[in-house]
């Protein structure tokens, strides 16, 4: 009776930790921070690390949805555009009688989720490849955004956003707290709910999961809706930190979110991975960018360094993702 339960999981071994990609990525982050902190005084200071975490929070939020979509066997190339929609949209829908600004934020988050559902509709019902569907959506949104916002930056007069961007609770930025809370929910949903289990099944083998009674269409739509929601949330945070939104503000987060997902050990082919790896992946990306800025090289060398470092980290952490 006793061992029936204990065989559910393999017995605990310290060596298994070293093969855990999420843990390995975290280890790399810690190593990089220690080395950079010793080599460059000021890099390891609390203020600087806190700033890095604040930047990583935005990538991390976008990457929640991206992790979900990638695990479910898709990819979302519209997250950058959705971040922009949300960062530009919140100041535009400033409603009267909405003194806290929460209504505007809720409205935009609903809109972002709606865009995600549209992506899911195209992928699930029209059977458009996710890459094309989300790409076309990004092109479409870009046009609409320029139409609505034009080329100017729009400032937000929103108390909730100002709080989100600047407040510190016991020294921790509100954005980082938001990210922590969102991460906890994301990890719980992914690993401890039926919905999360269905995502892994969908990514591993969509036909088998359909035959086992999973509603592929509903779950596909749900996963893209989550991606829209988290991208919208990231846009709200970016707006809070920046104070103003403009067309193109979300563009860097598309590639960053995919890179964070892959560096965290999630298979780009779907079916395996965890958001627990994406978190250090996002921090690692921000750290690399900060290090390259410190080196004070020309734009060309910075770009080469960034690409080479990603390739190098991929060799360390992303190896057998094609060998399933």
């Amino acid at each position: 009776m006793k061992d029936a339960k204990s065989t559910r999981f393999p017995p605990w071994r310290p060596a298994a930790l070293l093969r855990n990609r999420a843990f390995l990525t975290l280890l790399i982050v810690v190593l990089v921070w220690i080395v950079a902190g010793l080599a460059k005084p000021g890099f390891g200071s609390y203020g600087h690390l806190r700033y890095l975490l604040e930047l990583a929070a935005v990538i991390g939020l976008v990457a929640i949805g991206q992790t979900y979509v990638v695990i479910a066997g898709g990819i979302d190339l519209s997250v950058g555009a959705i971040v922009t929609v949300s960062a530009v949209g919140v100041p535009l829908v400033a409603l009267s009688g909405d003194s806290s600004g929460a209504l505007a934020v809720l409205f935009i988050l609903a809109a972002a989720t709606g865009i995600g559902i549209l992506n899911g509709l195209g992928v699930a019902y029209l059977r458009i490849h996710p890459m094309i569907m989300t790409l076309a959506m990004a092109t479409f949104l870009q046009g609409v955004l320029i139409l609505i916002a034009g080329g100017t930056a729009i400032s937000a007069q929103n108390p909730l956003l100002a709080w989100l961007g600047n407040a510190r609770l016991i020294g921790i930025p509100a954005g980082v707290i938001l990210w922590t809370a969102a991460s906890a929910i994301a990890l719980f949903v992914l690993h401890a709910t039926p919905f999360g289990a269905r995502l892994f099944a969908l990514g591993a083998n969509p036909i088998a999961s359909a035959l086992s009674g999973i509603n592929v269409r509903t779950n596909t739509m749900a996963v893209y809706a989550v991606s829209g929601l988290t991208a919208g949330l990231a846009g709200v945070l970016v707006l809070g930190m920046n104070g103003q939104g403009y067309v193109g503000i979300g563009d860097p987060y598309l590639l960053a979110s995919i890179a964070a997902v892959v560096l965290g050990g999630t298979s780009i082919l779907g079916g395996s991975g965890t958001y627990a790896g994406t978190i250090p992946g996002a921090i690692l990306l921000v750290t690399i960018t900060a290090l390259i800025t410190v080196v004070n090289a020309s734009a060309g060398w910075r770009s080469i360094l960034f690409g080479s470092l990603i390739l190098l980290l991929l060799l360390l952490s992303g190896r057998d993702s094609q060998r399933r």
Binding site: I75, G122, L126, R127, I128, H129, M131, I132, M133, L135, A136, M137, A138, T139, F140, L141, Q142, G143, V144, I146, L147, L255, I258, A259, V262, S267, I268, L269, S298, A299, G300, W301, R302, S303, I304, L305, F306, G307, S308, I310, L311, L314, L315, G318, R319, D320, S321, Q322, R323
Partner: protein, 315 residues
């Protein structure tokens, strides 16, 4: 390619493309109606010149997608090709040396990506994403800001009032036919469709895939060279839009993401559709903004159409 089987095989490959060909023809007719000047040597030349770079990058993307790969580095490679062309052609190497330098750079970069993605078994999408940063960095190192020069006679030759661009495109399509008849070309579809089965049947799967990456780099860099000749100078970020457009054109042309599905003629037709669409919208006086919106919608509709028509058959 002996007589009896050739045409049935070609018909088989055209299947599923008739809809696309019809849409392309309709758009071409609309374009010719809006802009009667198209039906002249100069009109055809100008149109072919605006189409050629997109057609070349679509071929570059389609080759990779046929083997089950994908490249996000196409745009950066186009920029690099343009920059190398603009800096070498007026130098001691001259025009032939410049062309050779662009071709070698394209082949080498493509092969490098291929070796890393295939030999080290890393996912293509993320390898080429990282490579895109490296290549874009190299382009910025060679030419930090738009500049350089292309000899005037060379620009006139390629982008003047002669339909040379069209000849080049036909030449590229013929070379593709020839490549498909070589052992590596024959392996291309097999390596994409069923790599394990192909490997067991003795097909050089890895070599075919790495060669596809190299050719893809070559085509992208040559597209950059043509753009440099068109504009008369080099710009280190001119290629950016081509990455996504090349994927869109290949998918419009029926090339599948999983490898082994699709044809080069489809990809070329897809690029033709995109480029006619952009021209038509320009002539209809669409603002650049509305063009984005329309482009997004048209891509979705074109890709979703086969699925919707299947619903109707099922009902």
């Amino acid at each position: 390619m002996n007589g009896t089987l050739y045409w049935p095989a070609q018909r088989q490959r055209n299947r599923g493309l008739y809809g696309l060909f019809a849409v392309v023809l309709a758009f071409l007719a609309l374009y010719a109606y809006l802009f009667p000047g198209l039906l002249s040597v100069a009109g055809v030349s100008k149109f072919a010149q605006s189409w050629l770079p997109l057609a070349l990058v679509s071929m570059a993307q389609a080759i990779l997608m046929l083997t089950g790969g994908i490249s996000l580095a196409i745009g950066a490679t186009v920029s690099l090709g343009a920059v190398i062309a603009a800096t070498t052609m007026t130098g001691p190497l001259g025009v032939p040396g410049g062309i050779a330098a662009v071709a070698v750079a394209g082949l080498a970069i493509g092969a490098f990506c291929g070796v890393i993605a295939i030999r080290l078994r890393l996912p293509a999408i993320i390898v080429t994403l990282a490579a895109a940063f490296i290549i874009a960095g190299m382009a910025l190192l060679i030419l930090p800001r738009p500049g350089g020069a292309i000899p005037g006679w060379f620009s006139d030759r390629l982008a003047g009032n002669t339909p040379d661009a069209l000849y080049l495109l036909v030449g590229a399509a013929l070379l593709w036919k020839l490549y498909l008849a070589t052992p590596l070309g024959l392996s291309l579809y097999a390596a994409g469709e069923n790599p394990v089965g192909a490997y067991r049947a003795g097909v050089p799967v890895d070599a075919a895939r790495i060669m596809a990456y190299a050719l893809s780099g070559l085509l992208s860099a040559l597209a950059g060279l043509f753009i440099a000749a068109q504009t008369g100078s080099g710009d280190p970020v001119i290629g950016q839009a081509f990455t996504l457009n090349s994927i869109a054109a290949a998918v419009l042309g029926g090339v599948g993401f999983l490898g082994g599905r699709g044809t080069m003629r489809g990809a070329i037709a897809g690029s033709l559709l995109l480029s006619v669409m952009i021209n038509v919208m320009f002539f209809l006086g669409f603002s650049p903004v509305a063009q984005y919106v329309a482009q997004g919608l048209i891509i979705i509709v074109a890709v979703a159409l086969p699925e919707v028509s299947r619903w109707r058959r099922a009902v």
